[in-house]
Symmetry: C2
Subunit: 147 residues, 2 copies
């Protein structure tokens, strides 16, 4: 039997969160956290609504997942996020010791790779899942905002 729980399957759910952010006028980034194929957190960027630079999708999902698990370490968890995490979010992921990070589009300017942020040695990274859709959504957002 084919495994339906692929990285693409879960990234679609993160992408749906990014679309919700888009509709609210937020920079369209969405995230979910999964453990044993179960979604335990879902969130999208809310920096505008909350007037808070810390309200990135990833940060909210880390807090929500820890709350769900009753512990602050995200062992055996995977974060799916439509855009490469920034320094802040990668720094939070470092502390969380999350097992796996899957991100969509690269952020050549502010992504943790370009910025040289360290992840926890326990964390593996997969990139490029739904990268094109995620990047296009960002471009549409900024094109709309410039009008």
């Amino acid at each position: 039997m084919e495994n339906i729980f692929t990285d693409e399957y879960f990234m679609k759910k993160a992408f749906q969160e990014a679309e919700i952010a888009f509709d609210k006028g937020e920079i369209p980034v969405g995230a979910i956290i999964v453990i044993q194929n179960k979604v335990i957190a879902r969130s999208h960027n809310l920096t505008e609504l909350l007037n808070d630079v810390t309200a990135h999708a990833e940060m909210q999902s880390i807090t929500a997942a820890a709350n769900f698990l009753g512990g602050k370490y995200l062992k055996d968890c995977t974060l799916y996020v439509t855009l490469e995490p920034c320094q802040m979010c990668a720094g939070a992921l470092y502390w969380s010791q999350i097992s796996k990070i899957v991100f969509g589009a690269h952020d050549e300017q502010r992504g943790f790779t370009a910025m040289g942020t360290k992840l926890h040695p326990k964390t593996t990274v997969v990139s490029g899942i739904m990268a094109q859709e995620s990047a296009e959504l960002m471009l549409r957002f900024f094109a709309r905002r410039r009008k």
Copy 2:
């Protein structure tokens, strides 16, 4: 007339927050944010109580200060924090465009300097204010925890 509003004056208030954290069994780090000599946020590390790796003193103060100001950029603000910020907190401070960061003790292992985290070009940094007291409080905390 002598200016009482020195970096030492405000760092003492951050240190008081670190002492509150110590008494609660939290890693003893305290922070405040000041604008025009007025304290607009005060917080201490709550990662244990909240089961949340994102609940560092600095993160809470950034959120509280933005809430007070009604805007997410911390222009003309100074953060006082007893320990050098980590990657996550420095990453959040980067987004906030805060004017000045004053920290106490260096964190040679996990501080943003050692980790290579980038601050915003608008941000200036002062270090070493009450460094010894802050470092000693950390040492006392970990000595107690080992018992």
